[in-house]
């Protein structure tokens, strides 16, 4: 276990579920219930990841957790980067909002909600942001059709 993961685990018991070091990037999987505690701990000293660069999500319909929300953090003091991953769950995916820790997450989480349908608990304004308010479905899910036109002819060689 890396130093960062050990520090997080020591501060918030039972929070680190996995750790991946791939292509020079450190990824730490966090238990869904512990996300907010971990976020509060990461923002303060000693790690001080003050800047939340990005919140996004990827859809894995073939896996039990299905929606994997990713948080990219940057420490202004050391220039280190860290990625947190949380599995939101396949049916009624929901994650705790980190807007109270990093206000910048507001729009990012709205975007993930809009395009993936992952809900964020205690988010100040969880509405669609990219799509019209009356849009149905969540376009970035893998099972959402891409659209486009059927080929109109069949006698092509």
């Amino acid at each position: 276990m890396s130093e960062v993961a050990a520090t997080i685990e020591a501060a918030v018991r039972g929070s680190v579920t996995e750790e991946v070091l791939h292509a020079g990037e450190l990824t730490i999987g966090v238990a869904k219930e512990r996300l907010l505690e971990v976020a509060r701990f990461l923002k303060g000293p000693p790690l001080s990841f003050a800047l939340l660069s990005d919140v996004t999500c990827a859809d894995f319909p073939e896996r039990p957790g299905r929606f994997r929300v990713a948080y990219h953090l940057l420490s202004l003091a050391s220039g280190n980067r860290l990625r947190l991953r949380v599995w939101a769950g396949a049916d009624a995916p929901e994650v705790e909002s980190v807007t109270s820790v990093w206000p910048t997450a507001n729009w990012h989480e709205r975007e993930v909600y809009d395009l993936f349908g992952v809900r964020f608990r205690n988010h100040p304004d969880l509405t669609r942001i990219m799509m019209p308010l009356d849009w149905e479905g969540h376009p970035l899910r893998r099972d959402y059709p891409l659209g486009g036109e059927e080929v109109q002819f069949t006698d092509a060689v």
Partner: protein, 407 residues
């Protein structure tokens, strides 16, 4: 409170208290020349003081991220150029470098230098558009004529090297599509020799211009801590004195070899953002000069036949090259399972690309962390309590490109 709720609440309040002083709702945009694209601002006004604004975005949402999942890695490059259309080189730089990181592909040093040159040229061109349009919005029409004159030269250079004037598909996974054409270096040198005097011209028009100073000083100020909380990066953050430039903090593409300064402001108002960007253009000119002087020899693209198309000349003589070419074009290359987040310092801040690979020739997920999208969140706290006329200055000073905001 959603925009719809805000409007409904205000209308209800207005009906219950006729004749009393009510805020007026003005809808600015989505089609307004001052919003730099299609941005809608529902503005609650008390006289000409802004009580609150509700930015509404998504009018330019193109679904590029969804389309990337159905394209091969090399095809998706064409799509990501279309996001932040004033800084296309940065989009493809972040994307291709993220894919290279997943492939663990080493790219030649010469390609890195060309990437740096084109990125900095693109930064100058982007800042020139920003300066011209911001000046235009505040009535300094001449500035736009001047900046677009130089931008045309920068675009000519981009066209010379990539064949395109806007959505450059010039960086590839593995390096650059082509080497610098003959005569390119001379023209680029002429451009950077001329540029400092031109920047002096813009400064002569604006820096001490009383109208410009009055309209921009102490406008759109937020404390540095709040800017960091809101995730603001780039010139808008550096104007507040925070020294965060990814070219320095996490150097990429060999930026650590170049000698340049990171311009900082003190007050964090629109005027500081203007001076920071002006000085950034000067630094970019310096970086291009150093890159041209130290340009290493070698290839412009990695020599990995599993990923990179073989040279065009070989197709006529080598069967193997033909097979490689056919395989790459029809099936693409497979990227091992994993994820990567690669960020570059775009003209607007941290532009990151998050690529999730699942071992197939198509990406499982491509996501762009666009600085315009994040920086726009700062507009609401910035604008509360200020004048409507200053709102235009603030939108301009944040330099949002709506193509990047909505993606």
């Amino acid at each position: 409170m959603t925009p719809q709720e805000a409007v409904a609440t205000l209308e209800a309040a207005h009906e219950s208290r006729p004749g009393s002083r009510q805020p007026m709702i003005i809808n600015l945009g989505p089609q307004h020349p001052s919003t730099h694209g299609v941005l809608r601002l529902i503005t609650e006004l008390d006289g000409e003081v802004i009580r609150d604004i509700h930015p509404v975005i998504g009018y330019l949402h193109t679904g590029i991220e969804k389309q990337c999942e159905n394209k091969m890695y090399w095809q998706a490059i064409t799509l990501v150029t279309r996001m932040d259309y004033l800084a296309s080189f940065f989009n493809i730089h972040a994307y291709t470098a993220a894919v290279e990181r997943l492939l663990e592909l080493e790219i030649p040093e010469r390609a890195e230098y060309i990437r740096v040159i084109m990125s900095e040229l693109n930064r100058i061109a982007s800042h020139l558009v920003w300066l011209g349009t911001s000046g235009l919005e505040l009535g300094a029409l001449t500035v736009m004529f001047y900046t677009y004159r130089e931008r045309e030269k920068a675009l000519d250079l981009c066209e010379m090297i990539s064949g395109e004037r806007m959505n450059y598909r010039y960086f590839q996974v593995g390096g650059c599509s082509d080497d610098m054409p003959p005569g390119f270096e001379q023209r680029l040198r002429a451009f950077i020799d001329e540029m400092p005097a031109r920047i002096d011209e813009y400064e002569g028009l604006l820096t001490e211009n009383p109208i410009w100073v009055d309209r921009t000083k102490n406008v759109g100020v937020l404390p540095a801590e709040q800017l960091i909380d809101l995730g603001v990066t780039g010139p808008a953050l550096r104007a507040a004195g925070v020294d965060l430039d990814l070219r320095k903090t996490t150097p990429y593409s060999g930026y650590e070899h170049f000698d340049f300064n990171v311009p900082l402001g003190t007050r964090g108002d629109a005027y500081d953002r203007y001076t920071v960007r002006i000085r950034e253009m000067r630094e970019s000119v310096r970086i291009i000069g150093q890159a041209l002087d130290g340009m290493p020899e070698g290839g412009h693209i990695a020599d990995d036949r599993k990923v990179v198309l073989p040279p065009r000349g070989e197709l006529a003589t080598s069967m193997e090259a033909l097979i490689h070419h056919f395989k790459l074009v029809t099936e693409g290359f497979r990227v091992p399972e994993g994820e990567a987040y690669y960020s570059v310092e775009s003209p607007r801040g941290e532009l990151g690309c998050y690529v999730v690979a699942d071992g197939s020739p198509k990406p499982r997920r491509v996501h762009m962390r666009d600085p315009s999208f994040v920086n726009l969140q700062a507009l609401r706290p910035m604008a509360r309590g200020s004048y409507l006329a200053d709102l235009i200055t603030m939108i301009g000073s944040l330099d949002n490109v709506m193509g990047g905001v909505d993606r």
